[in-house]
Symmetry: C2
Subunit: 490 residues, 2 copies
Amino acid sequence: MGKNLTTRAEDYSKWYNELVVKADLAENSGVRGCMVIKPYGYAIWEKMQAELDRMFKDTGHENAYFPLFIPKSYFSKEASHVDGFAKECAVVTHYRLKNDEDGSIIVDPDAKLEEELIVRPTSETIIWDTYRKWIQSYRDLPIKVNQWANVVRWEMRTRLFLRTAEFLWQEGHTAHATQEEALEEAQQMMRVYADFAENFMGMPVIRGTKTESERFAGALETYCIEALMQDGKALQAGTSHFLGQNFAKAFDVKFATKEGSQEHVWATSWGVSTRLMGALVMTHSDDNGLVLPPKLAPIQVVIVPIYRGEEQLDAISQVAKELKRELQLLGVSVKFDDRDTHKPGWKFNEYELKGVPLRIAIGPRDLEKRTVELARRDTLTKETVSKDDIVARVQDLLVEMQRALYDKAKNFRDTHITEVETYDEFKNILENKTGFVSAFWDGSKETEERIKTETKATIRCIPLNYKEEVGVCIYSGEPAKMRVLFAKAY
Amino acid sequence: MGKNLTTRAEDYSKWYNELVVKADLAENSGVRGCMVIKPYGYAIWEKMQAELDRMFKDTGHENAYFPLFIPKSYFSKEASHVDGFAKECAVVTHYRLKNDEDGSIIVDPDAKLEEELIVRPTSETIIWDTYRKWIQSYRDLPIKVNQWANVVRWEMRTRLFLRTAEFLWQEGHTAHATQEEALEEAQQMMRVYADFAENFMGMPVIRGTKTESERFAGALETYCIEALMQDGKALQAGTSHFLGQNFAKAFDVKFATKEGSQEHVWATSWGVSTRLMGALVMTHSDDNGLVLPPKLAPIQVVIVPIYRGEEQLDAISQVAKELKRELQLLGVSVKFDDRDTHKPGWKFNEYELKGVPLRIAIGPRDLEKRTVELARRDTLTKETVSKDDIVARVQDLLVEMQRALYDKAKNFRDTHITEVETYDEFKNILENKTGFVSAFWDGSKETEERIKTETKATIRCIPLNYKEEVGVCIYSGEPAKMRVLFAKAY
Ligand SMILES: [Zn+2]
Ligand SMILES: [Zn+2]
């Protein structure tokens, strides 16, 4: 197709890296581990943000904004949190530069901060330090706040969207009077994420909880949604944490109950990030480029004129512009690409690469016959449609394609969950079939750790809807109460 | 009114600080100079963002995202830029913390960065380093990109919204093939900002250019909009810079022209920030609290029931909910506050403090008479309106109030532009009448500097629509070609 894209079969990882750059989603910057999100990639992220933001507001959340910097001492206050987050992070130590004698710019040694500031890797500490001021009584609860922000976690090996030093995300932080309410909130947000992943991204997910060792640092329970990429590796697409009273105790956040006693507040936090962009790419795209679900495509329909000379272009433009207007009135986003600097073939390639769901080509013969040629990105099929039917057909196909992408991904996912009974089977599936492996686990950290060391597979989650079964751990042979899902993961 | 707000006459500065906190807009955080933007304040900022974003897109701009960190060496590349921006800034020197022997957390001395990273104070350098890769030919131009981001400028004396170490803003960065196109872009964005300030914030602004010494570091021309606050001090509400080829030369960004020659690219940048929140507060609010223009008010109408007992509340709720539904269908944002934890008087106070434009109170007598009581925040006037007329009346009043706020602010501004002929007059007006002072200036940096030192007044701008006049500089007595606007400023 002239896109010079490595195929998935040749090298999945290389295919991904090339595609993200060539489809104008993102690129590496001059700053180690930090990416530039390009306009086309950002337009997809904006659509994700808009849907998620609407869902958060529909479930009673408000947005706010907290500082980028966190004093070093805040991290020491919640013991398990510090181990998880205060390690690989960007540390601000000075607040001024100055000109050296030789004219170069140096850090002014006189401008050293008394206490170092950490660029937030996540905001629990600074937010709970704030909530202490906001919460006195049960009347101040619940607090249901979300923040859209950038965060930084120093990573040695980075990949565009999947693992970057700086990334964009949202982080919800809620405060509740009771354990039950906080648990319900954490579960609700997992459901919101699953809804978004499945109904907007077209990406089926498994809802579950993390094992203790995979939990968020400071959480008593981490709910997660896990997706499966086309190469059979799992990707954690969103997490929602029940934090108990850990942060309330660390930051001394108490409230007066109706009865007048003082109690610590219950907390949750939950987040999804620009990592979802990587998941979106790896769930649907093919060797010709991006495939985007219509609900998240910045351009849903592109119209390309096929013409020789001004006169033909004028006649085609008239039809194209009218069609564009009609579709836009129905809420469909349409681009009419009448640039004369590029040939139709080049444009076809370009919009395939960028995953525009539907392409309409109009040539002189179409004008005569009152037809257009309609091409569908996911199946690469073409059909000739009468001008009278095209608007309805476009609307139908956008719905149909959204559904088809989900179904295809779900079918792939469902056929890549394999139940095994022995460790040999387990290793065999991991190596040869890939995907999720459903296996009995004895519940011990040691077993989990050893399997991870030996196979690189981690327990992705304990599925929410697991059936109580009696079995035998594939590794230790000890009694086990349920199957959990293992996989190699991003 | 029970709000315990310092009055503007008593202490304008204190009034502002108290109001921002009491109206739940923002508060200081535990991090020096960094604020927390609270949900109510953030909701106003979101409305600002939505309008501005729409305006940017309507004028052909796309959003993107660039790294938070900028390598120190990038700042050295544009000589005038470094003096302006690489001074008071947050410097990241390390990328890891570790546990000290005594259990405390320290910065790991082994994790020192080879090159320090600066937390962006503005993004010209990192963006033009990126544009070099994006631009080869005239076909790649123009690039019209905007970024919504946080930036950090270390400030010794900070004030909520007006001057904070970290703030939120948007920064547009465009690249053009010709000087004319770049100039037109810079001017266009100034007009967009003025449109937003006047038609959404209800804040009249003067469009002008900055003198050389007040220009953005690296700009050849800075267009600005200047507003006047109720205390007679000016506030720069937005700037748009024509950057010439300075950044293209510094980062070696050239393009092949149609004719095949290589030329440096022409640039603009432009931004507004959460400072606008401060401007909004100081333009309209009064001793009772915030006054918000309807177009930016998160809640435009609040309905408060006045009742004794469940039965009355039920009957009133029925009317209130129907009214709420009707108004919402027309796009009006309405809150029905039926909390039984607070008295009506408390609620009246609260919504006055928060600047909700219209308040509807419904009591048992209203039910009998089929009326409601409608109170208007800006004038504090009340009227009784028949249930049949209330929807239309609300719609009218929201439009009327948006206009009235602008007119009032414009009248204040217009009566606070004073033409003077002598330096004595000048100083007298600055001290006693305040506001903008229109005076002849000889065009020299020295005069500008001396006036600033002696009076603290700066040249806010050379108005765009100035009339060519022949005059004598109020300070030097030298010939002058035009009047410029001086003021003390935020
Ligand atoms: Zn405590
Ligand atoms: Zn050059």
